[in-house]
Structure formats: structure tokens, C-alpha cells
């Protein structure tokens, strides 16, 4: 599956098992992206949310 990076417009390749809310990196601009929506092979990517203070292990 492919989609467009919302930051640099590069084509981003995702595995067929990509899940909504999954974090991936654009291989062109390295921006952290999130799978915002997925309908079949139609995937929408957005910039991933910024790390918040309570994030972690």
C-alpha cells in the first residue's frame, strides 16, 4: 500500500497490515507520521502527535 506524506508529498510505502494509529516514518523527510484512517488500501497519513510529558514506559 502507498500513501502521500503530508509534509513533503513523498510516496510512503506501508505494509498491508498497517493499523490505524500506527506510527511510521517518512523515508524522504523523516517526519513521524500516523495512519489516521484506512479504508481498504486507501490510507490517510497525518503528522504524528508530538511527544507529551507523560509519554513513556
Amino acid at each position: 500500500m502507498t500513501s502521500q506524506c503530508p509534509v513533503c508529498d513523498a510516496t510512503v510505502t506501508l505494509s498491508d497490515s498497517a493499523e490505524v494509529s500506527e506510527i511510521i516514518a517518512c523515508t524522504d523527510c523523516s517526519t513521524q507520521l500516523v495512519v489516521a484512517d484506512k479504508k481498504g488500501t486507501d490510507v490517510t497519513l497525518e503528522e504524528a502527535p508530538a511527544v507529551e510529558e507523560d509519554w513513556g514506559e
Binding site: E19, V20, S21, I23, D54, W55, G56
Partner: protein
């Protein structure tokens, strides 16, 4: 077929591994982004067990409390999450259970921090947020000038939790420390994290390599796990001249970069633990 609810606030590589493994093991897995949910009495869920994998500690703890209130076992439990999310509470529990851990204190003013440091044997100390992760906002304090500056910044610039100064005696790591992956008190594998910086978190650039688990590491990790309530834990340990000492315990461990160096399917072990818990 065991029904597992996997709660998250984002799906990282770790969650992907859990999802794939659960499906391979023929579990009925439902993936729930809790940001798209509301939690209130009266709602019904059909899960046998919940695994909480929220990167947001605050949101995750509320989710744990909610599903425990419904009688569904949650991995990890509210007790484990509450103790492990807070480094001071973790330290208290370790000390109470005679688990070796660096000397520590909590203070709320510069003067009391100075008194605490004297009580602990002097500088250097590490100031850490009691609630924090990924090696962020750690300060190695070598003298009183630095202590004054850091505590003033925390007090003025931080939210109220930053006004609670968790202090830990600095322990020389000699460039590496250990992360043990512990399930139900048993060490399934461990990595050494190497860095030229004193902060060895892999999130801060520390490199992971397999670490051969010995009986003493198994013993201290079992005691530490029992102290905080068990479950699936990543226990950070420092090897000192007088033996192992537990630095801190993580209750929503990241493990995706540790499966290859250790050769252990940590995700497989976690799902097996979920299945075992569901069947209890």
C-alpha cells in the same frame, strides 16, 4: 479462543509485534485506541483479559482502573502501574522489600534537598522527575551551584509535579547498564545498554546487546518484581562492585529493539502471559 483487549494511544513497533503474535496464536484480539473511547459505568466488554499498552501513562492508568473495576484482569494491574510510574514510590517499595536500590530521597525545597544529599552521602546525585520516562529531564548534579540552578528551574518553569524533587545517589555505570525483561517474576532475557553518556536509555542513543542472565540477576529481579506486584516489567539494573542494584522499573516496556539481540520473542512471551492470565 482467548479474547484479548489491547489498549493503546498509538501503535508503535512494540504493539505491532504483539498484534501479529496474538493473531499467530489464534487469539481473538481487539485493538482499542482509548482516545476514541469514553469510560463510564454500564458499558459491557467481552474480553477475558486486557493488555494496557498506552504510551500515555496518565490515560493508561485510568484505563486500567476502569477495566479492573469491571472485573477484567489487566496486564499490568493498577497497583503495578501506580507503583512503577512513580520513581519515588518504586524506590520506597524496593527499600521496604530489601531490594538493593540506589539511595534516594524526596524533597520540596532547596534547603531540604541539600539536607537530603548530605544524608545520602553527598554529591554527585541525580535529580529526576518522579513521573517521567525515556531518560528525559535527568540532571546529574555535581555540586551545590548546579543543584540551586536546576531546582529553581524546576520550581519556576515546571508544573507542580516538578516541584517534588526526587533525588537519587549517582551510581557510576562505567558506560553500560542492564535492562531485564521480567514476566511473572522470571527473567526471560536481558540486554546491556551501552553509551558514552551516563544516560544509557536507548531512547537517548544507548545501544542494546544481549546480556547473559546469571542467577544473581534472576534473584534481584524476582525480588523487585514481587515488591511491585509482578506482571510484565522491564527492570533497569546497574552492576556495581558490591553487586546488582535496581535503578527503576518500567511497567509498559518497550522491547521491539531487544528481540533481535536477545533472540527471544518477548512479544510471544507477553501474549502467552496474557493467555495464561485469561485462563486463571
Amino acid at each position: 479462543m482467548v479474547k484479548i483487549g489491547l489498549l493503546h494511544t498509538t501503535i508503535r513497533g512494540d504493539e505491532k509485534l504483539l498484534i501479529e503474535t496474538a493473531r499467530q496464536k489464534k487469539c481473538n484480539l481487539e485493538i482499542v485506541d482509548i482516545r476514541n473511547e469514553f469510560f463510564a459505568p454500564g458499558k459491557k466488554y467481552r474480553w477475558d483479559v486486557v493488555i494496557e499498552r498506552c504510551v500515555s501513562t496518565v490515560k493508561g492508568k485510568y484505563a486500567i482502573a476502569y477495566f479492573e473495576s469491571k472485573g477484567i484482569p489487566v496486564i499490568n494491574s493498577l497497583r503495578v502501574a501506580s507503583l512503577c510510574e512513580d520513581k519515588f514510590l518504586t524506590s520506597l517499595e524496593l527499600a521496604k522489600n530489601n531490594v538493593s536500590t540506589p539511595e534516594f530521597a524526596m524533597a520540596f525545597s532547596l534547603e531540604q534537598a541539600q539536607n537530603a544529599i548530605e544524608h545520602m552521602g553527598g554529591f554527585p546525585v541525580v535529580v529526576k522527575p518522579a513521573l517521567g520516562s525515556w531518560g528525559r529531564l535527568l540532571a546529574k548534579i555535581n555540586d551545590n551551584d548546579a543543584l540551586e540552578a536546576v531546582l529553581e528551574h524546576k520550581t519556576v518553569l515546571g508544573t507542580p509535579p516538578h516541584g517534588a524533587f526526587y533525588l537519587q545517589k549517582y551510581i557510576e555505570k562505567k558506560g553500560w547498564d542492564i535492562r531485564a525483561f521480567v514476566l511473572d517474576g522470571e527473567v526471560i532475557c536481558a540486554i546491556a545498554r551501552r553509551s558514552e553518556h551516563w544516560i544509557t536509555n536507548t531512547a537517548r542513543g544507548g545501544k542494546a546487546e544481549n546480556f547473559r542472565v546469571d542467577k544473581k540477576l534472576e534473584s534481584i529481579c524476582k525480588k523487585a518484581s514481587n515488591a511491585v506486584g509482578g506482571g510484565i516489567l522491564a527492570i533497569d539494573v546497574i552492576q556495581t562492585s558490591s553487586g546488582y542494584t535496581v535503578n527503576e522499573i518500567n511497567h509498559t516496556m518497550e522491547f521491539k529493539n531487544s528481540e533481535i539481540p536477545t533472540g527471544v520473542s518477548i512479544s510471544g512471551a507477553i501474549i502467552d502471559y496474557c493467555i495464561k492470565t485469561a485462563k486463571l
